[in-house]
Symmetry: C2
Amino acid sequence: MLKNDLLLKALRQEPVERPPVWMMRQAGRYLPDYIKLRNQYDFFTRVQTPELATAITLQPVDQVGVDAAILFSDILVIPQAMGVEVLMEEGKGPSLPKVIRTKKDIDALFTDHAKERLDYVMKALQLTKKELDGSVPLIGFAGAPWTIFCYMVEGKGSKTWSQAKSFAYNQPELTHSLLSKITDITIDYLIAQAGSGADVLQVFDSWAGALSPADFQLFAFPYLERIATAVAPHAPVILFPKGSWYAIEDLCRTAASGIGIDWCISPKDARKKAGVKTLQGNFDPAKLLAPIPMIREEVKKMIDGFGKQSYIANLGHGITPDVPVDHAKAFVEAVKEYRS
Amino acid sequence: MLKNDLLLKALRQEPVERPPVWMMRQAGRYLPDYIKLRNQYDFFTRVQTPELATAITLQPVDQVGVDAAILFSDILVIPQAMGVEVLMEEGKGPSLPKVIRTKKDIDALFTDHAKERLDYVMKALQLTKKELDGSVPLIGFAGAPWTIFCYMVEGKGSKTWSQAKSFAYNQPELTHSLLSKITDITIDYLIAQAGSGADVLQVFDSWAGALSPADFQLFAFPYLERIATAVAPHAPVILFPKGSWYAIEDLCRTAASGIGIDWCISPKDARKKAGVKTLQGNFDPAKLLAPIPMIREEVKKMIDGFGKQSYIANLGHGITPDVPVDHAKAFVEAVKEYRS
């Protein structure tokens, strides 16, 4: 049914002529047409209005030529659906004025009807799916429980996440109870996304890399594993715990179809750890600021390192607002022209 | 001559009864006596006044019981000595108003007489050495060329260092010329520190972990290697490129006596990569916020993982201001009580 099913083939480890390519945050701040909408509507209006979310989602497909669309949304819609206020100040990142401190705070969270409160996401997926008309697959996503927990306890971005970790070390039972609640809601949410047209589901554990390998096993991995097991029957899952290179082998044993990695591991090392499992990544987003010939050369080296099978070309983290559009295009085109 | 030479023994891979212990940023913001001086004198007054720097350096030796003193100073004294203005706003991190953009900017940097301009560091080392009276070794330090380059090009701290990287990708020749200049000055500076009483010299490559393994080999490793080779005949060197777990094997082949690691690698993995080379680290600073019994238990696990020989107990990054002093003491005491 899909005209371009490279992404799905790569996730099923089927042979492809060249790897599929998309970019994390591809629907975003480096695109002039996105900036226009940003100047007209505030962040959560863009996220919660299906027509706007769809328009933004389609921009990079039409303008940059990626092999997949990823719904324009945010990982913090989950705390919102649990009744937690989330503020998004342009250029400053999110803040959650009322942080979790006690059992009472956790008991007060909504755990039912989250799906209904996130119905705007389902509407946006359905509309996007219709607009895409089978051209490329549509990716849905959610934040991983550890990362959502970090924001709910810390209340904002952090270099060290020391408050979130302190909570985890001092109140492990409450921590696991909150992580479990987030996990349950996230599973329902991702399955609903599959039912609304998402072909692939990615789980972003953006702050997994703040954890030691032992703490990752305690606070992050079990919840990623539970999500992968529950969601995989509905759509292929990509787990992306940024920075957790040490867990690649364990992640490959989950029900996930793909594992995302950042740029702080060489393609060859990652391939060695992952075996034939599908890997996604790992171009340094800052390298999109390099001269175009260097971008093209580095893309070739990267694919050579991973091998073109069971591999999805992508960045190692979200594209930054300072990347010129023609550099983003050069990245995508270099993957498309790859021949081994 | 030293009453406590555990640190030197560990760096020479000589047998010890228990590992030495110190903490990065041990002379700093978690100590009430430091806060008093901070409220009286601004940052660079504290750094540039030998009596103040010495007093601050001695505080954790007397109050927390660490096995080494590390001079209170800053890595950005090197750009200062090159003629670059550095501002330090309490709680906000450093900023360098005039960033490096062109060859002209690099040509305008002072490269001679840096040592004379850093004479206050030598005076502080001499005074501290005298005050220590042989009780514990004294550590001197410098920032690594890549990290200093990052600040000089970016002008302030950054999550992505995309301007520094963009400069490196677009102007590789200028990049290497600036990195070389920083390296030359840093070598002179570290040798002078050894001549002024520093028993050990640590090189902090705080932003090495922002680089891919391939870029680390281009922009960070060669300069770390040059420094280790040049400085090792004068005093044992510890290289700490934070986040660069992938380079442990290469770092172990340099003339450095010790390699620092952060907490994002397990002690066993690190030991496997390093063989018998001395490792330093890797307690998560946020874990100092855990209950004291957990700190003690985790210290034991950590030393068991590294083995007590050829190992220096430390944090994986600087201690944070929110750590209670008795938790820092518990960390140090747990190492001192370690018996395998």
